[in-house]
């Protein structure tokens, strides 16, 4: 149903496809965006960045795309008739996640080379896996992982369930799970900073609202929400 225009003058349906790791922050920000723009009916489509990109290439009715990495954004941009204009709105760095209590006594990245310890990493094919590779290279460590997980959440889940002794995960994820995991930061993390880009899509049926939403995500008000979740500002 078409919502009535609010004081901002914006109206209509606005669909935002966003990386699943943004579910919590975007849901919160979406509520306040709709409060500011009562005419807009905002809908989210959360999923794996790659799947979302695939959908957009297949002309899913989406106005805004927020990806968890720049590569997927580029895929969408390449497939689009007119080029996208993505902006990075947050960044994220890796931390070591260990089960609460850290019974295996993990201290730094060198423990990832320990055969005796159960280690989870993201697979090289997904963004967090690529980042892990970079930081481990920087530290000069040849990891001995027991499993290469399909995404950060899966790796984190293994830590939470105490199935592994350590995993490399994003800071935001570790923070969100602070009840059940401990988090160790390490110096080499700056070698792999994960950037989250957002862009209004040129095929959007509601370009004004799309633009407004992107601006809102870039705004200081949003910044606060991202900070609370453990994201870092774009450098």
């Amino acid at each position: 149903s078409e919502a009535a225009p609010g004081k901002s003058g914006l109206s209509g349906t606005l669909t935002v496809s966003a990386a699943a790791s943004l579910t919590e922050t975007f849901t919160a920000l979406g509520d306040s965006f709709m409060a500011d723009n009562p005419g807009v009916d905002l809908k989210f489509n959360f999923g794996a960045s790659s799947a979302l990109a695939q959908q957009i290439t297949d002309q899913a009715p989406v106005d805004v795309f927020a990806s968890a990495d720049e590569k997927t954004m580029k895929t969408v941009s390449d497939a689009s008739d007119s080029p996208l204009d993505p902006e990075v709105f947050v960044t994220n760095v890796l931390v070591i996640a260990v089960p609460k209590g850290n019974r295996a006594g993990v201290t730094d990245l060198r423990d990832f080379a320990d055969e005796q310890k159960k280690i989870a990493l993201c697979a090289a094919e997904v963004p967090c896996g690529a980042a892990a590779q970079t930081v481990l290279d920087r530290a000069g460590v040849t990891p001995q992982p027991d499993t290469l997980e399909k995404d950060v959440k899966a790796a984190l889940a293994k830590v939470k369930l105490n199935e592994v002794d350590a995993a490399l995960v994003y800071r935001t994820d570790a923070l969100a799970a602070k009840d059940s995991v401990d988090m160790l930061e390490f110096p080499q993390s700056s070698a792999a900073v994960n950037k989250y880009p957002i862009a209004a899509l040129p095929e959007s049926q509601n370009p004004d609202a799309a633009k407004a939403f992107v601006e809102y995500i870039m705004s200081p008000a949003a910044r606060e929400v991202f900070d609370d979740a453990g994201f870092q500002p774009p450098s």
Partner: protein, 266 residues
């Protein structure tokens, strides 16, 4: 027919192990459930939506599977033609296809750029992906093979002299199918429908890829569970349990009714 019912242990022991193995994990989930947060989690408005959508779509997919799948099974079981083995194997393709790939494959055909999707769009302005219809389609794609294979098995077990008897009474193949074959393979159709329905209810990969994850229109329970898993695993478990509970309850009630009916018929 026999009442003194002794359970032979070479059957009882594996049966018990099998049952335990299938049921224990669910019990594990129940044990791990954060009962204190139950009301909060289940109270989310999107949960009811997702549950409703799940039931509707799975049931619709099962219905379509029956309508298309029973005839297909019949064709595979009764028709003699070259390449039948290949066709039977092709029916299992959606089973083997990793669901996400299935979703991509569906997009390639029924998406707006797919060769059928374009036709549909041009002819009727209908677009399937990212709609509830798309969810039903993805679930049908994944669930139908279960029905087809099960019903074909039932058809093969059938004494086909009943067909012969019906034919001499002037019944066409179609009449025979409706009045003799179908009632006799009813237990098989039932089993197949249960499998298809359950599989459709749990479907995730093909659905999220082909239909997206839009609350109210395409977000089924498994998608909601997946999303919750990303953020709030405890909530995910509660949602998954809700899904299981509803499905088990429905199957238990229907199952009892159906079985009773079937026994009365046999």
């Amino acid at each position: 027919m026999r009442s003194s019912w002794r359970l032979p242990w070479p059957l009882a022991i594996p049966a018990a192990i099998g049952l335990l193995f299938l049921v224990l994990p669910a019990i594990g989930l129940v044990v791990g459930t954060p009962w204190t947060r139950l009301i909060e989690i289940l109270g989310t408005p999107t949960v009811a939506d997702a549950m409703r959508l799940s039931l509707i779509c799975a049931s619709a997919a099962t219905l379509i599977s029956i309508v298309l799948g029973v005839p297909l099974a019949w064709l595979l079981a009764k028709a003699r033609f070259r390449g039948r083995g290949l066709i039977r194997a092709l029916v299992t393709v959606p089973l083997v296809m990793p669901p996400v790939v299935g979703g991509v494959a569906l997009l390639l055909v029924f998406g707006r750029n797919g060769f059928i999707g374009r036709l549909l769009d041009d002819a009727f302005g209908v677009s399937l992906p990212f709609t509830t219809l798309g969810v039903i389609m993805a679930e049908t794609f994944v669930a139908m093979p279960f029905l087809v294979v099960t019903v074909e098995g039932a058809l093969r077990g059938l004494d086909n002299r009943f067909d012969a008897a019906a034919a001499t009474l002037g019944a066409s193949r179609w009449y025979t199918f409706r009045r003799v074959t179908l009632p006799l393979i009813w237990p098989g159709v039932l089993a197949g429908s249960v499998l298809a329905w359950a599989r459709a209810l749990g479907e995730f990969g093909a659905t999220i890829t082909f239909a997206g994850n839009f609350p109210g229109t395409t977000q089924t329970m498994p998608l909601a569970v997946y999303l919750a898993m990303e953020n709030d695993p405890e909530a995910a478990i509660v949602l998954a349990l809700l899904l299981l509970l509803v499905s088990v309850a429905i199957l238990a009630v229907l199952g009892d009714r159906w079985t009773r009916r079937v026994n009365a018929n046999a």
